[in-house]
């Protein structure tokens, strides 16, 4: 018996916490649409199905090779960062050929709607984006985790040829863009360990949603 998931715990709670879920009669369930929320919904109990807490056995075991190929996401701690390295200098050269046509020379803006990437001028400091709409968000002033810059470039850039960059090239572009934004020194070479150590200037300005509905404006 495998461990109960929260879902199954919810199902057993709905069944009155008895050790064994009652089997509903057809008349109980046949006329009932699925509930508003899935907490107590059990697809196995749909009329004709295998019964509550039973599986349909559909789907297949995921091949490790597929997981390895698709599971490329890199989170805020950078634990998944790959081997390789790249320098800001190499990144600057690569940027000029692979990125500047959309994001502008030096990352200071290109063809709309491609965002500006670089900018740490004093007028844009202080994270006063809400009070001053004229301020432009850039990697330097509005990107909380350096590791996810690597993630984004690798998964989504260049727009027309995603996946075309090597990991070394992604490290180089990451290094260039962080250096151009004065987050790291110009001569920096980044690898996994170095990138994990980079703290973005305004990381702590991002706060969780505090809206919960009800009267009032938030």
């Amino acid at each position: 018996m495998r461990r109960l998931t929260p879902y199954l715990m919810a199902a057993s709670l709905a069944a009155g916490c008895s050790g064994r879920a009652p089997v509903p009669s057809t008349s109980d369930v046949a006329s009932q649409p699925p509930p508003a929320t899935w907490g107590s919904y059990d697809a196995g109990g749909v009329p004709g199905g295998p019964g509550l807490r039973q599986h349909y056995g559909l789907g297949a075991t995921a091949p490790d090779s597929l997981i390895a190929r698709w599971n490329s996401d890199i989170g805020p701690d950078g634990a998944e960062l790959p081997q390789g390295k790249g320098s800001a200098a190499d990144g600057e050269k690569l940027y000029a050929t692979a990125c500047a046509s959309c994001h502008g020379v030096g990352g200071v803006g290109g063809i709309a709607p491609n965002p500006r990437l670089v900018g740490r001028d004093s007028a844009a400091e202080g994270f006063r984006f809400a009070s001053d709409p004229s301020r432009t968000k850039t990697i330097g002033n509005y990107w909380p985790y350096a590791t996810t810059l690597f993630d984004y470039i690798r998964r989504a850039m260049p727009l027309a040829t995603p996946g075309s960059l090597t990991d070394d090239q992604v490290y180089a572009l990451t290094a260039y863009l962080l250096a151009a934004n004065d987050v790291i020194p110009k001569g920096t070479t980044l690898d996994a360990a170095a990138l994990r150590e980079v703290k973005m200037p305004y990381r702590d300005r991002f706060i969780p949603d505090d809206r919960t509905g009800g009267p009032g404006v938030k």
């Binding site: 697809a43 009267p215 404006v217």
Partner: protein
């Protein structure tokens, strides 16, 4: 592809009274045609609604297909009942004078909006549902498409589209709205803004698929899983982090919309549907779900889709769309041609549940009157409202204000700015409406 092959068709003398007043004018990033609302006849509501369904004048449709034999202007007999009609067809076309179109078109990293001012009822036709793409629409072979679920699960598994279809299905009606909906008119209200431009990145359709909980049960989610990552199979490999509670609440993996498989622009063959959550997180072309303990902090939940706040902060994971409404008729570029009764009608919705009340003002917000909800208010779905108005040629400002089941009421634009600052960048839920001039013309009223 849509079935609107008549988008370019020119209406010829179909309704001389309407055509005589119709003219085109440019509006922002797209072009619209002015339409004329008629009224004062028997069957007022039906007549006004029918008359409010506009046409697009020559060459003004955003879809620039050349006219074909099938779309060439028809020859209309004086008495249609005197001639044998056309035969059945495989997919059908819209009535000649009805040519609602999304605008703008041609965006691979951008959006097109639903023509809310040209629609009625609550269901958005699938081919008019707004689009927002970040790297275009991918071409996916549904027969080989896989949904991978892995991470903190007992059994990492893949599901084919056929597997998904073989599980028990559920069908729900929900809106999807981009949290950037109405950004430009909010930031800089302009009189020539249409309902499409003001709110057309909200659409409402019937979705069919399986509860995400059903799939999570099949793979056995581990108790330590608190978030999951959803990834799309488009060229940006869209990734968003979702709190796992949403899976047990009402999340679905859908494969059909309005009775047919998803259109490519809406995520064919599989889409994550998170009712009430901002559009971007309803990941299209869904190919992977990874269970984990904490959010992944992807670009789309940090650098964008976060809300700058006063106090030099930014609100993150602001998933839920607050209560909102928009009057769709009359709305710019409508011209009210006839004095007398007509409905002021529009749409209201809330990502927090049901809309419980919509009020309409015809005096710019000095006084408010309860509107009627014309059908059942489903949770996290558009509901249509109407308020009957006996217009006698006076200048007026008509506004709508919705309340949801949590008691949240739409704020004015100035109230929203006072709380969030002028640089607020998503979730534009302010009260808006239309200025009606004595000549019957209507213009956007966004400064509330």
């Amino acid at each position: 592809m849509n079935d609107g092959s008549n988008d370019e068709r020119v209406s010829h003398e179909l309704d001389a009274e309407r055509d005589a007043r119709a003219r085109s004018e440019s509006s922002g990033d797209h072009t619209v045609s002015r339409r004329v609302l008629l009224g004062g006849v028997a069957g007022v509501a039906a007549g006004a609604l029918a008359a409010s369904l506009p046409r697009v004048a020559t060459g003004q449709s955003a879809a620039a297909a050349a006219p074909t034999a099938a779309t060439s202007p028809p020859t209309m007999p004086g008495d249609p009942s005197s001639l044998l009609g056309t035969p059945t067809s495989a997919q059908g076309v819209r009535a000649t004078e009805v040519a609602p179109s999304r605008v703008p078109v041609g965006q691979v990293a951008g959006s097109s909006r639903a023509p809310l001012g040209q629609l009625t009822g609550t269901i958005t036709p699938s081919d008019l549902h707004f689009e927002r793409h970040h790297a275009g629409v991918p071409s996916i072979d549904a027969a080989s498409h896989q949904l991978l679920i892995h991470g903190l699960v007992e059994r990492p598994m893949t599901f084919s589209v056929d597997d998904i279809k073989r599980l028990p299905q559920v069908t729900r009606t929900h809106f999807v709205e981009c949290s950037g909906n109405g950004r430009a008119p909010f930031k800089q209200p302009k009189p020539d803004t249409t309902a499409q431009a003001a709110a057309g990145m909200s659409s409402n359709t019937e979705w069919t698929g399986v509860p995400l909980a059903t799939l999570f049960r099949e793979v056995g989610v581990k108790p330590e899983a608190k978030w999951f990552l959803a990834e799309g199979g488009d060229a940006c490999h869209m990734t968003r982090s979702v709190p796992i509670e949403k899976a047990w609440e009402d999340a679905m993996v859908v494969w059909a919309q309005n009775g047919e498989p998803l259109r490519p622009a809406q995520g064919y063959p599989l889409r994550l549907l998170l009712p009430g959550f901002e559009g971007n997180i309803n990941v299209k072309w869904l190919r992977r779900l990874e269970l984990g303990t904490a959010p992944w902090m992807t670009r789309w939940e940090t650098s964008v889709y976060t809300d700058p706040l006063l106090g030099d902060k930014a609100r993150q994971f602001s998933f839920v769309l607050d209560v909102k409404s928009v009057i769709t008729s009359p709305s710019h570029p409508d011209v009210i041609a006839t004095r007398g009764w007509r409905p002021i009608t529009g749409l209201a919705w809330s990502g927090r549940g049901r809309v419980t009340r919509v009020e309409v003002s015809t005096d710019g917000g000095s006084t408010w009157h309860d509107a009627q909800l014309t059908g059942p208010a489903l949770p996290k779905a558009h509901v249509r409202f109407q308020y009957m108005w006996n217009w006698q040629g006076e200048a007026a400002t008509i506004l709508s204000r919705a309340t949801d089941e949590t008691g949240q009421v739409q704020p004015t634009r100035s109230e929203l700015i006072a709380v969030r600052g002028p640089g607020t960048d998503y979730h534009f839920t302010a009260i808006v409406g239309w200025d009606v001039k004595p000549d019957g013309s209507t213009f956007y009223h966004g400064e509330t």
